[in-house]
């Protein structure tokens, strides 16, 4: 019974940590707008945290540049299990218009498993909330399988 309470709480209190790996700041602004009074993702328990140690969901925005590659890998290694990685916008996975650039190390999938991908340049807040809600369910599944 205790295990079931913990499993259910997983989906209801996902804390988000946001990493910008060379994004143009558009997706970052849209992510912040998700916690404003108009969309209020906190009603589902979402909370932005300041440190990867407290995070359940890691949101990555931007194509992975060569400067940010090492930081991304180190930050992801600090997130406790179970964790879910969400790619935000068109940049992290197909690299969008930055594809082929000398400074882009390229899709996020090379460095970690991506669980949810929210596409769009930039995605609408509704789409981001939908993606995060899906990520919360995946978090619960991961906890249950462990």
């Amino acid at each position: 019974m205790f295990k079931k309470i913990i499993d259910n709480s997983m989906a209801k209190s996902p804390w988000i940590y946001h990493i910008n790996t060379g994004s143009c700041n558009g997706c970052d602004i849209e992510l912040v707008s998700v916690i404003t009074p108009r969309y209020d993702a906190e009603r589902m328990g979402f909370k932005l945290t300041g440190t990867p140690r407290h995070a359940d969901i890691v949101v990555v925005s931007g194509p992975v540049t060569s400067q940010s590659k090492e930081r991304l890998v180190r930050t992801l290694a600090q997130v406790p299990e179970p964790r879910v990685i969400v790619s935000l916008g068109s940049c992290p996975r197909p690299c969008n218009v930055f594809k082929g650039s000398y400074s882009v190390e390229g899709p996020l999938d090379k460095f970690c498993e991506v669980d949810v991908s929210v596409a769009g340049c930039t995605p609408k807040p509704e789409a981001i909330i939908d993606g995060l809600a899906l990520a919360a369910q995946i978090l619960k599944e991961k906890r249950r399988q462990k």
Binding site: S9, M44, T51, R53, H54, P80, P82
Partner: protein
């Protein structure tokens, strides 16, 4: 039999279980009220329970640079001291333990959760924690002075023989006979000072300089994860209950109704109102203060309010 009763006191009724449930509920009410003030829907009232149980289910990472024993012991030390404090704070007529100098014990025990944050942060070996613990120390120095003056004022007022009493039993007896402390006009500045001390003691928003998550990544808690972080969150919630209950005992005490369940419900009502007044309201209407601004605020305005009450009480009003 006595041992069983003591165990019941420590683990269930005024002790651990009661504190944890009420504290987490108060934290949930606080979050909901703040959200409603900001025209948001807000999380459900049981959200802190979800947070706590989720953190129990997460992996607990102990960093390589941390000193392992202290890192694990610090949050537990804070929790234990908070539970002990709950045993001394009276629910109107009822106390689990009482002595001649409860107020002194409370005063010492109140610093231990803050010291636990400092020790845990120092043990985690992170530079952000270093900045956080120095801020936490400034916060302790800032709010301890007005808090001590408020306790002195209440002790002076409640002593019938002209001295100062540090016993909750005598304070409750005084309030049962002459009406609650808040009904004496000379105590009102001290009550306001106490209401302003509560948020910084808890580490609630406008005074959460140590755990500023937007500037220094949650300060001392930066390296904590999993169940240890959960215990820190629980400590924070229990501290909300302890301090509001302390306010109720100091300023709104009395004989109560004599029936324990009614008294407990009345205490919970007072705790909720005090939480909304002293924590939710400043959280919703103001931004975080700078460290030196906070220090100045406590050592000027709040201390002056407390001293006004002390002088009035000393003069016999």
């Amino acid at each position: 039999m006595q041992i069983l009763l003591d165990l019941f006191y420590v683990l269930i009724f005024p002790g651990f279980l009661f504190c944890a449930v009420v504290g987490l509920l108060l934290a949930g009410i606080d979050r909901k009220i703040v959200a409603r003030m900001q025209k948001r829907m807000g999380p459900p009232i049981v959200q802190p329970f979800y947070d706590f149980f989720k953190l129990l289910g997460k992996e607990t990472i102990i960093p390589h640079a941390a000193s392992r024993g202290v890192f694990i012991a610090a949050p537990l030390l804070g929790l234990v001291s908070l539970v002990v404090m709950a045993l001394f704070i009276p629910v109107f007529g009822f106390t689990a333990f009482s002595g001649v100098a409860d107020l002194i014990v409370i005063l010492y025990l109140l610093t231990i959760p803050a010291a636990a944050i400092i020790v845990g942060g120092a043990a985690s070996g992170s530079p952000y924690a270093g900045v956080g613990i120095s801020r936490e120390m400034v916060a302790i120095v800032a709010y301890e002075l007005p808090l001590i003056i408020v306790l002195l004022t209440v002790g002076k007022k409640a002593a019938l023989d002209g001295g100062i009493t540090f016993s909750f039993t005598e304070i409750q007896a005084y309030q049962a006979e002459f009406g609650s402390m808040l009904s004496h006009w000379s105590m009102i500045p001290a009550a306001v000072a106490m209401l302003l001390v509560i948020p910084s003691e808890v580490g609630s928003h406008p005074f959460d300089v140590a755990e500023a998550e937007t500037e220094i990544c949650e300060g001392p808690l930066v390296e904590y994860s999993g169940s240890l972080l959960g215990i820190y969150k629980l400590n924070h919630a229990i501290k909300m209950f302890i301090l509001t209950a302390l306010f109720a005992a100091l300023f709104l005490g009395g004989a109560g109704s004599g029936i324990l369940i009614v008294d407990v419900l009345l205490l919970l009502l007072i705790c909720t109102v005090v939480t909304i007044l002293s924590m939710s309201l400043p959280h919703a209407i103001s931004a975080r203060l700078k460290v030196e601004k906070m220090f100045k605020f406590y050592w000027t305005l709040v201390t002056v309010l407390a001293v006004i009450s002390l002088v009035l009480v000393w003069m016999g009003f």
